[in-house]
Each structure stands twice: as structure tokens, then as C-alpha cells.
């Protein structure tokens, strides 16, 4: 290992540097957390922890439909995750395992769509949603995002790494493709599927451009859109806004910290393949 041979001074310097950057990375969130616990009268001074209060949280719950937005966000996120897991897993398996007429073109199409930013097709998406009468609805935030080219690609990679012999053996025993898929391949790809669910969940929870465009009725706001609207409503109440930030950010950050072993590698490997 490189680390064992280093001079102690250099090693200490490296850790100091990493610690400074690490604190800078999570610092803004800690700042939001701390400020959200300060009474508005104390902000922006730092006060001792004994002066901290939950006043901002109560205030924002009383004065904004945070719980409604939480419910919306949870419902939409759950819908996208369930749909994505079904749709992308099946497609990923087919592209990894079955040779059928049109397979190459299908894969090329998935890779091509992968590079198209949502920003570039937002206008026609809005028209589709409007024509279906889906503005201010949950389905407009769920249905289009049950499919995701990146996640198809990810699932194809997961299935490709399975030894094909297991499926061959099942087939020789007379199992059809569907049985092989559901009873052999899927149970062996649970970590890939979990990764997919976590990614789809995080993206949906954090998504902003789509919900801010499709939902103009506060009853259908996602948390991101709601928090953005709080900025003007509680313009002078920084501490209340920070309580909103905590509501929005903390669930995803906690989930990420717990499951980072499943999430981070998918970005490392998918990255270079572009």
C-alpha cells in the first residue's frame, strides 16, 4: 500500500486536507440544520445549544402545507420506484440475455435517448401532459418516469455479470424464459434492483424542473417546488426556510449514507461508458 511508506507529516497533511474538504461538503447541510433550530430572534448569531428550539418546524408546519407536499412527494416517489423497477428490470434482462430480431437497434436507441437531456424535450412533454389533461396530477409526475434509459443500461450490466450457466440449466430442465427470469435471474440481481430503486427514488424526490412546470396548484406540489415557493412567503424568516430545507434534504441524505455502498459504484462504472 502506498500509505504505509509515506512520511508521517505528509500523511497528516493529507488527512487535514480531506477533513477540511469533507467538512466543507457537509457544512452547508449542518448549517441548515443548526439554523433551523435557532429562534428567529437569535439568527444569525450563534447561540448555545440550550437555546435551540423546534419553533421553526412548528411554524412551517402550521403555515405551509408541508405535510401535504410530503405526502405528494412520497406517493410520486413510490409510484416511480415501483414502475421503474418493473419496467427497467425486464428491459435490462432482455437486452442482456435474449437474442432477438431488433436487439441491437433497441440497445442503440436506449443509449441514444440516454444522452438527450429532459430540458431539450420539456416543451413537447408539457404538451403531451396538457393534452391528456394531466397538468396538476400525480400521473404526470409518475408515468413518464417509470422508464429510464440509464436504469435500463444499469440493469443490463447487472444481468450481464450473472453466470449464464444457471439460466441454461433451468432452461434444460424445461423452464421457459419467464420462469427463468423470475425465479433465477431476478433473485440473483437483487442488489442491482435495490440500486435502481434507490437511484430512481433519489432522482424523483429531488426532481424540480418537471414538477415546477407540470404542477401549478399547491395541492400537487412536490416538496422541492413547495420549498422554492416558501422562499418568497417567508422571505425574512431564514430560520423557517432552513426548517424546510431539513424537511426536504434529510430523508435522502440519511438514505444515501446508509446505502452508499449500493449507490456510489453505479456512478463510477456507468461514468466512463457514457
Amino acid at each position: 500500500m502506498t500509505s504505509s511508506r509515506q512520511r508521517p507529516g505528509l500523511k497528516a497533511l493529507k488527512y487535514l486536507f480531506l477533513t477540511v474538504v469533507g467538512v466543507a461538503a457537509i457544512g452547508p447541510l449542518l448549517y441548515a440544520l443548526y439554523t433551523s433550530l435557532e429562534s428567529p430572534a437569535d439568527y444569525p448569531r450563534l447561540v448555545s445549544p440550550t437555546h435551540l428550539t423546534l419553533w421553526n418546524y412548528r411554524y412551517v408546519l402550521d403555515n405551509a402545507p408541508i405535510l401535504r407536499w410530503y405526502g405528494n412527494t412520497l406517493f410520486v416517489t413510490a409510484g416511480v420506484v415501483i414502475g421503474a423497477v418493473v419496467v427497467n428490470t425486464m428491459a435490462g434482462y432482455v437486452l442482456a440475455r435474449i437474442r432477438f430480431p431488433g436487439r441491437t437497434i433497441s440497445f442503440v436507441v436506449v443509449l441514444a435517448i440516454l444522452m438527450v437531456p429532459l430540458q431539450a424535450i420539456l416543451i413537447p412533454l408539457y404538451l403531451l401532459v396538457a393534452q391528456l389533461g394531466w397538468l396538476n396530477s400525480y400521473q404526470s409526475l409518475i408515468v413518464p418516469f417509470m422508464v429510464n434509459p440509464f436504469l435500463i443500461f444499469l440493469m443490463r450490466q447487472s444481468f450481464s455479470t450473472l453466470p449464464v450457466e444457471l439460466e441454461d440449466a433451468a432452461a434444460i430442465d424445461g423452464a421457459g424464459r419467464f420462469r427463468t427470469f423470475f425465479t433465477i435471474a431476478v433473485p440473483l440481481t437483487m442488489s442491482g434492483i435495490a440500486t435502481q430503486a434507490l437511484l430512481a427514488g433519489t432522482w424523483t424526490w429531488n426532481s424540480f424542473m418537471i414538477p415546477v412546470t407540470f404542477s401549478t396548484d399547491p395541492n400537487y406540489y412536490m416538496l422541492t417546488v413547495g420549498l422554492n415557493s416558501l422562499q418568497s412567503q417567508f422571505y425574512t424568516l431564514t430560520t423557517v426556510q432552513m426548517a424546510g430545507v431539513v424537511f426536504l434534504a434529510v430523508p435522502v441524505v440519511l438514505m444515501f449514507v446508509v446505502f452508499q455502498r449500493l449507490i456510489v459504484p453505479s456512478f463510477a462504472t456507468a461514468g466512463i461508458r457514457g
Binding site: L18, I98, V143
Partner: protein, 320 residues
């Protein structure tokens, strides 16, 4: 491959008339094909309806004049939208703002991420802990991060104060000051994306054979020289990827610029300082209700992204 084993091996299972009938029409291969089409159908239908059709439609709309509130009345206007873009100072301005943004974001995040990855890779204990900390911003909502940074960079806020005392910059509300709003956007953006590229570079460094470092050390190379002469050259494909993918990503900046512009009510504010390309598209379509004109600008965005992808494909070695 298993598919090609095909019918020859099957009779052992498919004995008798029924089996033979199945072999002739519902052969193993055909049943496999049918399964493939059934399993891929939902994805194909959704991709077709929600992605492929809108891509085509973006091009169609770019040749039309369509109002947001009367979108069933569409008139073909040939190249009028593109002609208008060509002469529109606001569009030129948005390209200029986007260019400046990218010019600062891409080198900053690439250099910082490669350096951070090298340091992170070289320490023994605590790698996962630091990596997790670096990645947290990328997993956090853009709205949440931008909202917090607006408090940090408000006049008298912690980071405005710091910038004023250390760098002698005016202690001002960065996102409300025309000459500081774009730098503010760069800071928020780079802060969120560095962790992602650190992860890409760390996986690249892990690919470098350790005897390369060993050989460099035997030749007397210190940490800095190892970084300069082993790490950086070996990471060439990763650097190309991070530069081009980072550029494609940065060109699409929207959320942060929307949030700082008075929660999206005055897009591009202050005074157009953050009117990026996507903000221009959005404003034309959803504030000025001109869907055709917005789509023409979206075609320009697609062209930029497409060119970037072509460049990556050309420069990167084939990997599977």
C-alpha cells in the same frame, strides 16, 4: 450461446406429437423471441411515447409558430424561428452566459476532483467515510442546496463575510448583484458535482496497475511527481470523459438559476446575469408562451449535446 443449441437438443424433452408440433412453429427460439418482446414492451411503449416522440416533436415545433394557450393551432413558418434566434440579442446573451459558466465550471470541477481523488486514493483508513461526505451534495436536492447557499452568500452571511475578509471582495448579496450572480451559480454548481467526478476518478486510479507507482517510487519520485507522471497520464480517458460529460451536464444548468431568480418569477435575474441557455428556452416557452421559438432554442441545445457526445465517442478508447 444457449440460443443456438436450438431444436437439436430439445426432442429429449419434447417427445411425441405435441412436442414436435411445438418445435416446428413454437420453436425454442421463437418462444424466446416472444418472451423478449413481452418483457421489453412496457419500456418500448413508454420510451416511444414519452421520449422518442417528444424528441421528434421538438424538431417539428421548431419549424412552427405555436402559442402555449392555443397549442392546437399550429402554423408552419419554415426557418423563421431559427432566423429569429440568429438575430436575437437575448439568445446570444444566453449562449454567452452559458459559455462563461461552462468555462469556469468544467476546469474547476475537473482539476479539483482529480486532485481530491488522488489524495483520497493514497490514504489508507477512512476512504469510504470521506468519499461519502464528498458525495452527499450530489445526492441533495438542487433546491435545498441553492436555498442554503443563498443564506450563506447573503450580505453579512457567513461566506460573504469570509470572501470579504479573506479575498477583500465587497460584502454583498452575491445572487442579487449582477457581477456576482454568475460566480455564485458556478460555486453552487461545482459544489454539487465535485463528489460525482471524484468517484469517477477514484475508479480510474484504482485501474492503474500498482507496479507503475512502485516503479516511480523506486526511481525516486515523490508524491507530487507520482501524481504528475503516473496518475495524470494514466487517467487520460477518464479526464476526457469528465471534461466532456461535465460540459454536457453544465450546459443544461437550470434548477439553481431558476431558484435564485426570485423563485422563478423573474428568470435570469439579476439583470439577465444568470439567463443561461435552458433558462432562455424556458422563458420563451413558459413565460412568453412561444413554444415554437423555445423549441428552436432547444434544438440548439440538442445539437450542442450531440456534438459533445460525438467528441467523447471519438476520443475515448472502446470499452465494454
Amino acid at each position: 450461446m444457449f440460443d443456438q443449441v436450438g431444436d437439436a437438443s430439445l426432442p429429449a424433452h419434447g417427445l411425441g406429437r405435441a412436442g414436435r408440433a411445438r418445435n416446428s412453429f413454437w420453436s425454442k427460439q421463437r418462444r424466446d423471441w416472444a418472451a423478449a418482446y413481452v418483457l421489453i414492451a412496457p419500456a418500448a411503449a413508454l420510451l416511444g411515447y414519452w421520449f422518442i416522440y417528444p424528441i421528434v416533436e421538438t424538431f417539428v415545433l421548431s419549424f412552427q409558430q405555436v402559442n402555449l394557450f392555443h397549442f392546437s393551432e399550429r402554423n408552419y413558418v419554415a426557418l423563421q424561428n431559427f432566423n429569429q434566434l440568429w438575430h436575437d440579442p437575448a439568445f446570444h446573451h444566453s449562449l454567452y452566459i452559458t459559455l462563461i459558466f461552462v468555462i469556469f465550471v468544467v476546469p474547476a470541477q475537473t482539476l479539483f476532483a482529480i486532485f481530491l481523488a488522488a489524495v483520497l486514493h493514497s490514504v489508507g483508513v477512512g476512504k469510504t467515510l470521506f468519499r461519502t461526505a464528498f458525495f452527499v451534495p450530489y445526492m441533495t436536492s438542487t433546491v435545498a442546496v441553492t436555498t442554503v447557499f443563498m443564506k450563506l452568500f447573503v450580505s453579512g452571511g457567513p461566506l460573504s463575510d469570509l470572501a470579504a475578509s479573506v479575498l477583500r471582495l465587497p460584502n454583498t448579496t452575491w445572487f442579487a448583484e449582477p457581477s456576482y450572480a454568475l460566480p455564485f451559480l458556478v460555486i453552487v454548481y461545482v459544489y454539487m458535482y465535485i463528489g460525482l467526478y471524484v468517484v469517477v476518478f477514484v475508479s480510474g486510479i484504482e485501474d492503474i496497475p500498482s507496479d507503475l507507482f512502485e516503479a516511480a517510487r523506486v526511481d525516486g519520485a515523490g508524491a507530487v511527481q507520482q501524481f504528475r507522471f503516473v496518475t495524470v497520464p494514466s487517467l487520460r480517458p477518464f479526464v476526457i470523459f469528465v471534461v466532456v460529460a461535465g460540459l454536457i451536464q453544465a450546459v443544461q444548468i437550470f434548477d439553481q438559476a431558476y431558484v435564485i431568480a426570485s423563485s422563478g418569477t423573474i428568470l435570469g435575474s439579476p439583470a439577465g446575469a444568470t439567463a443561461t441557455l435552458v433558462i432562455f428556452i424556458y422563458e420563451q416557452a413558459f413565460r412568453l408562451n412561444d413554444l415554437g421559438y423555445g423549441s428552436a432554442a432547444a434544438v440548439v441545445l440538442l445539437a450542442i449535446v450531440f456534438l459533445g457526445t460525438l467528441v467523447t465517442r471519438r476520443l475515448l478508447p472502446e470499452r465494454t
